[in-house]
Amino acid sequence: MKAKTQVAKISTKGALVPALAPTAIPLKDRRLNFGGKWEYAPSPEDAKSYPIALRHELFINGKFVVPAAGTYFPSINPATEQQLTEIAEANAADVDAAVKAARRAYDRVWGKMPARERGKYLYRIARIIQEKARELAVLETIDGGKPIKESRDVDLPLVAAHFFYYAGWADKLKYAFPGKTPRPLGVAGQIIPWNFPLLMAAWKLAPALACGNTVVLKPAETTSITALRLAQIFQEAGLPEGVVNIVTGAGATGAAIVNHPDINKIAFTGSTEVGKLIARSMAGTGKHLTLELGGKAANIIFEDAPLDQAVEGVIAGIYFNQGHVCCAGSRLLVQEGVYARVVKKLRDRIQTLRVGNPLDKNTDIGAINSAGQLARIRELVQSGLDEGATLQQTQCALPARGFWYPPSFLTGVTHAHRVAQEEIFGPVLSVMTFRTPEEALERANNTPYGLSAGIWTDKGSKIFKMAAKLNAGVIWANCYNKFDPASPFGGYKESGFGREGGLPGLAAYCRLD
């Protein structure tokens, strides 16, 4: 009351005219206008300094060799649809040669090398990767379509970090699992996807090599270039012949690895569909298996969440790497009280995402990896529209050539919709609502997958309560898509089994007797 009277007193004495009321914009015109005054000029990363060879061979026993059948398939830049190079197609004979080389290297050199010595190789590889980070980032972007900003700031630092991390474990292996003596499994067959070509290679190679296994690795057919560049780095690091063999090709090549009798372990990252095939064909063979498959993660926003930051987390969750992320936060669950505000914020925020040339340093959303993937995204979004959902998209112009999909989200989605159940693997978010924490849990767990989840709330206790009941391998609280080599990653249910990263990632490549 005191303050009130004081103000009144002063204002009566004040000789000045009271301030004019600022003009208020009418409700219908209250919108943010992005663009129109100051546009960013193109800022492309230099790609000319890193030429790509016209043909890429197989990497077997430390050398690049012509495939047995002499067949090659083209690899294109998804942002321009131009052919970058042709890649050797490995058949069963090539895979057999690779497995034999790996077995020889395991028996004669790598398996019995003191762990400390193996660590030195891994450190050397990590350092060379850091030195060549820019080149690798550019190649990753050209070959896969991801924005240079992400390959430069996320992929490559993590690739090097994984090699450094597992290099550190090599000489401490016998202390890693108290009371147990870890021994290598033998020859590991590793099949990796196209969304993070180098990073997935690092996730698989580093722990396998640290434990003393030798490897036959197959990159995805649309993104083989950086794996083969990695092979050159192995040569430069003096890695003994046959320790890592890289065979390129499509499904048939992968099947030849999976079915090879002299392989001790298969590690696969990719679709749930293929994962099931692999699990079926390996049943009863005694081979070790880890699978890292699809996901349909729930990103849960509570009313008390820091909303602007939660929206940033939603953006990071679904539009990172064009949504080609198995742990993408593709289902957004918003508490009803803040639903309208969150959707409005999201609508404004996606207008500032820049879609276009992946080599441009200002690009936020790059190219969709392949024509097939683009068709699948379109088909699923159409199904969402047919089932009654509403589509929100950015108003940006897309390049004429290449594969593109604008950042989008669907509202009015229910659990019966395909877009709420199936993995879209693109920059498309399905938005749903809930009323209570119990309902959020039920809805979040109502999926065949169980890879990841996100929780947004200002209340710490709520985070712990939710995390304990969410059926997901990775749970982020007030952040999303954060990775660290020390943190295990993997799923439940149809998202696979086994963990990569951290100590569990090490255990996946050891026999623990």
Binding site: A8, L16, L20, Y40
Partner: protein, 312 residues
């Protein structure tokens, strides 16, 4: 006259409203703010951004040793920052202590494109009686100040007396008359982002035309994440009321690169409508020289030594 006769209507109890002010997550807001520094501005975008930054500068001198002579230099620099051939716009304003408003008005004249901003209300601490604070404001405006940069009573805010803080701002706004009011939150003393957000809400509702981060006398002064929190408050206020509030980060912005990151942040948070000196200012003293050096580099292709740029 009753308090209700004031134009700026205060909610019945701001303390009750306070929990409804959004919370801020430190890690994510800092990460988001850092993302703006990753934008790569080249060629035309860079030059346009640099010139825009000059036009948004409040060229500042706030020292005990300030004299009319020093203010004269500052005014001339603000009117014409560099050789006219570079087509650099004048700075938005000069920012001085109340006693130097008169000489500044004398040097600039009455129709200058450069505004005069006076810090007032017991700058920088604000630990003075309201009566003298308001007298300071009235004197500065009468001497010719176009804008008043007031400081909030941080003591009142930190003890939870949000009502008192609101009333002081409202009273200052009234004392300003036609002059624009910038409310300095001194974020370095509020410390948490939650505090910054709440203080921003109070300052906007109480009648501030601009909200400003710092006095420049406390470290840390303006930072990108603090400014982002304030920009988000401005955006939400705009949606709620239809009024566009301005933003002024001040202190610690010394390089052109930093200034461009702020412009990027404004563009991508509030949109291009805010990219005008009417709604965005940068309070700085040494920044202008670096902006000019970069402008010359963009135009001529090479850097010049600092000796080739006039002192403010």
């Amino acid at each position: 006259m009753k308090a209700s006769a004031l134009f700026w209507k205060r909610p019945e109890s701001l303390r009750l409203h306070a929990p409804l002010v959004p919370t801020i997550d430190q890690i994510m807001v800092e990460e988001r703010a850092n993302a703006f520094t990753k934008r790569s501005l080249k060629t035309s975008a860079k030059l346009a951004g640099l010139k825009m930054a000059v036009s948004m500068c409040d060229l500042t001198t706030l020292e005990g040793k300030d004299t009319p002579g020093k203010v004269a230099y500052l005014c001339r620099k603000a009117v014409q920052p560099i050789d006219a051939k570079y087509e650099v716009p004048p700075c938005a304003a000069v920012c001085v202590y109340p006693n130097l408003v008169k000489p500044a008005r004398m040097f600039l004249g009455h129709h200058s494109p450069v505004k005069i901003a006076a810090v007032a209300t017991g700058f920088p601490s604000g630990q003075y009686p309201l009566r003298t604070k308001l007298e300071e404001v009235r004197r500065a405006v009468a001497d010719g100040a176009d804008e008043i940069d007031m400081v909030i009573d941080r003591g009142a805010f930190l003890t939870g007396e949000h009502t008192r803080m609101f009333d002081e701002i409202a009273a200052t706004k009234q004392a300003c008359g036609a002059a624009h009011l910038k409310v300095i939150l001194e974020t370095g003393e509020l410390v948490t982002y939650d505090n910054v957000r709440l203080a921003s809400e109070i300052a906007m509702r109480a009648g501030g035309d601009f909200i400003k981060t710092s006095t420049g006398k406390v470290s840390p002064a303006a930072t990108l994440p603090v400014t982002l929190v304030m920009l988000e408050a401005i955006r939400d206020h705009f949606f709620a009321t239809g009024v566009r509030i301005g933003m002024k980060p001040a202190g610690g912005i010394r390089t052109a690169k930093q200034a461009l990151a702020y412009l990027v942040m404004v563009k991508e948070t509030l949109g291009d409508d805010w990219l005008t000196p009417d709604l965005f200012r940068i309070g700085a003293s040494s920044l202008v020289t670096d902006l000019l050096m970069q402008i010359v580099k963009c135009t001529e292709g090479n850097y010049q030594a600092a000796d080739y740029f006039s002192l403010p």
